[in-house]
Amino acid sequence: MSSTVLKYEATAAQPFLDEITSRSGQNLQACYQCRRCAAGCPVGEETGVTPDRLIRLILVGDRETALNNLLVWKCVACYTCGTRCPNNIQTARITETLKQMSKAAHLEPLTPRIADFHASFMSAVRHLGRFNELEGLTIYETKTAGKELSKGEIKGVAGEMITQMRLALKMIKKKRLHLGLDKVRGTAEVKALFKKAEGR
């Protein structure tokens, strides 16, 4: 059992709450801790922190735990919590916001692979305007393998490579692997949108 008593950090709480409220567009203060969200969250058992707990952590101003817990990274954006919340609070929008804030604060993600996957996806889209599975996965595998090898995690990297090779072989056998690269003509437009996003 985890303790339900959280320490209230009066000075830290307000600005932190204000930032998350405005960035996520969610009215966190409306939460009355009924835990309907927790009951439906498919990753709650694994993350420990459920949507209601995450909101509570923010309300009491525990910035460190709010930015650094498994739900922020493992949330699969299934929108079950928000659909069932009597106060329309979409926790997926809050976990998105926290991911972006933790990145801006240069915090090391708790689950680097998840962070690297989505970053690699976006690099591939920025490059050609479309997501090409081979390109995106190559960027991702190179990124994670590099990081994990530098930490000496040879076994993990080898296991990952075998898993992905097996999938690729299955895809080739079933004629599902697409080898050409799809590209939009309007890459300049797409790049301009990415550039604008950086300044925001």
Partner: protein
Amino acid sequence: MEIAYYPGCSLHASSELYDIQCKMVFRNLDVELKEIEDWNCCGATAASKMNDFLAVALPARNLGIAAATGLSEIVIPCSSCYSRTLVSQKRLSCDPDLKNTINAELIRKVEGDIKVSSILEVLKPKVISGKIAEKAKKKLDGLKPACYYGCLLTRFPCDVEVPDDVENPQGMETVCRALGAAPVDWSYKTDCCGASASVNDADQSQLLMSRIMKDAVARGANCFVATCPLCQFNLDAYQQKVGEKYGIEKQLPVYFITELIGLSMGFDPIEMQVDRHFTDAMGLLKELKLI
């Protein structure tokens, strides 16, 4: 009837078979799919996790291109693309400043409100009007699908009009029944299969899939039906692995809704590439004498 069409990246890559099937099926229903030109990736789950602006801006460029066609409706078969595009449209209409900022970068501006439809929204009226019954003559006797919707067909991160029941949608069942199949009643039709986590958080994704598979088997389904290529791929490609890991003995083929309609219309399964599934999808059809 002409309708704009956004296939999305997946239908141009590993799920090209779905693109082929959509075109075959809709043509036969007298719906001409007009693929919008030079579309880009919608950003999928990644954009919303990484950058809020891009999550709206990437689909916005496609909405601008779609508006320029002058057509009144766009169909998006992939649930992820459908959801991201619909949410982008909603957020642009609620936030004129954001819309102006994005439009300033676009050659074809977002204007008007083209109707963004899932594949079920286009198919359902065809059931009601009797068009499907007229074209899909072969009854799919013996097929007991577990209709799998996943997250993004009925749950949205903002307030949009949901075209079906949120917790117990019936669109796919309606289509299946019109084809003579007998969909089972089950509990995991809108649960998440973890497709976006299948590569980067594999254990989590496989746990979610195992719950879905167990319930479908326990309810007596002999196949899954899906409309989303990401869910379909996930359940199809990893089913053997998840089955071994969680001791689920039965493996069920995962059909696209278009495969069932196409079969019923008498299309050749090889032409529809039904033989390209990871979990064998031809055996059951032979066993039931549907091919």
